[in-house]
Amino acid sequence: MLQTEPLDVEKIRPDFPILQRKVHGKRLVYLDNAATTQKPRQVIDALVDYYSRYNSNVHRSVHTLGEEATEAYESSRERVARFVGAAPRGLVFVRGTTEASNLVRFAWGEKFVKPGDTLVTTMMEHHSNIVPWQLLAKAKGAKLRFVGLLPGGVLDLAQLEDALRESPRMIAVTHCSNVLGTINDVAKVCSMAKKAGATTFVDGAQAVPHMPVDVQAIGCDFYAFSGHKMLGPTGIGALVGRRELLSEMEPFQGGGEMIREVFQDHSTWNDVPHKFEAGTVNIADSIALGAAVDYLDGLGMTRVRNHELALLKYSTEVLSMVKGFKDYGPQDLAMRAGVISFNLADIHPHDLATILDEEGVAIRSGNHCAQPLVTWLGVPATSRASFCVYNSEDDIDALKAALGKAEKVFKV
């Protein structure tokens, strides 16, 4: 398939059983993809197949089922790693991006962060890329510093430059904002950080599902993402890390699988990545995440990005005609993912989401787990529509019509 050929949404939609359902008697128009995406039949089948054909523990049992499960689990690791340009042995399966940042907080932070150190994050982060570093800073007597934004919702690189003069221990930055859709030039941020000797943690939760990602090209130390935002199941995600760094780090959780040898007075650790995968791992969901990656690979991530960019262009055109519509994202759509954070007249986002739901249109409302950013926007909350491979212009038209209905209800 040529990467220039547009996605055929009509062919994609039947793969997603949930899109057949009605909400309040209306066609489901699912535009809450930044919160979680729907799952194609291929992913659901992978779960059913594992549980009905070869459910077994991995890395332990030598019987046929055990071998099949281990093979499927490790093959999934390889495909997920390859999908983001990483080495399979540098990919740790975790519950999601939140567990990834917390793993780094404990396993890396325990060893490398000293009292008086500075950690740096930004004003556009999800709480999962703020709170773990707050906790780490507190535990270690370190300081957490925020890099601010320029009008339009892009990172202020001058502020980053300034923060780097403090020789911070770490820079934690998102690849793509879950509120504004801003795509950060993380390769540039990482190269700046590297020169200053800082370790880099990139939150890729909103990037990996929507655009080609190559962690080698980005040059980060850690990169994290969540399966459920990329057509995969909940409860599974990945932390990709430089192998030398992962090897130097302390373990995260202690238990089975993560050890090499256990004595009464001490233990030694298993190789990376198993050192960070204590206990029976989430086998089924890891395998299904492999199926999600295969699905996205089959579509081609450049085509996925182009599809969502075209939808974004169409939406900003169509929605800007709605009276009282205010869009908070960057105007340069080339540096923005398929996310629109907006407000409509004086209607509170929560009320708006309730009215839209009656029209079958699912959006998110609130602070999107990014309170510092929403505070910076100077609003109590925003509404957010976010796109995925199965969305079409019809969905945007339905959103526009539902916004019209909301204005009527609120007599705007």
Partner: protein, 140 residues
């Protein structure tokens, strides 16, 4: 029930022109709470009269139409009542006050935020602690 029913004229009116909105200069009770799900915030201040009556009550806040209208209507209802009355107010009373809108589990927290703030303040003033029976903290 459709949104036209939830967002009746009455609720929109209280949302856009909230009664008893503001701060008291002199007050005996000052309570505050938030609903982290949507970022709604409500503050209430009460001046208590010699006979344990709610002499004056004002609120401030930011949030959706349902939470602000509900808080505002509740202040009107509470004014002049005994503090004991606050202890008796129930979820059903609040929903009735709002015209029994059909609210799902997350939106009902918006409707009840004002009541939670009022009860927290009054219980504290009377020397006890208000335990939210609906556990609206469960969403945190």
């Amino acid at each position: 029930m459709s949104s036209a029913d939830i967002y009746r004229e009455l609720i929109l009116d209280y949302y856009r022109n909230p009664r008893n909105f503001g701060k008291l200069e002199k007050f005996d009770i000052d309570a505050h709470d938030t609903n982290p799900l949507c970022g709604d915030e409500v503050d209430m201040q009460i001046r208590v009269g010699p006979d344990s009556k709610i002499e004056e009550i004002k609120f401030t806040g930011k949030g959706c139409a349902i939470s602000l209208a509900s808080a505002s209507m509740l202040t009107e209802l509470a004014k002049g009542k005994q503090l004991e009355w606050v202890k008796q107010v129930s979820k059903a009373d609040i929903l009735k006050m709002l015209g029994n809108p059909d609210l799902g589990p997350s939106r009902i927290k918006c409707a009840l935020l004002g009541m939670k703030v009022l009860k927290t303040g009054v219980y504290g003033y009377m020397g006890s602690h208000y335990e939210d029976p609906d556990g609206s903290d469960s969403m945190r």
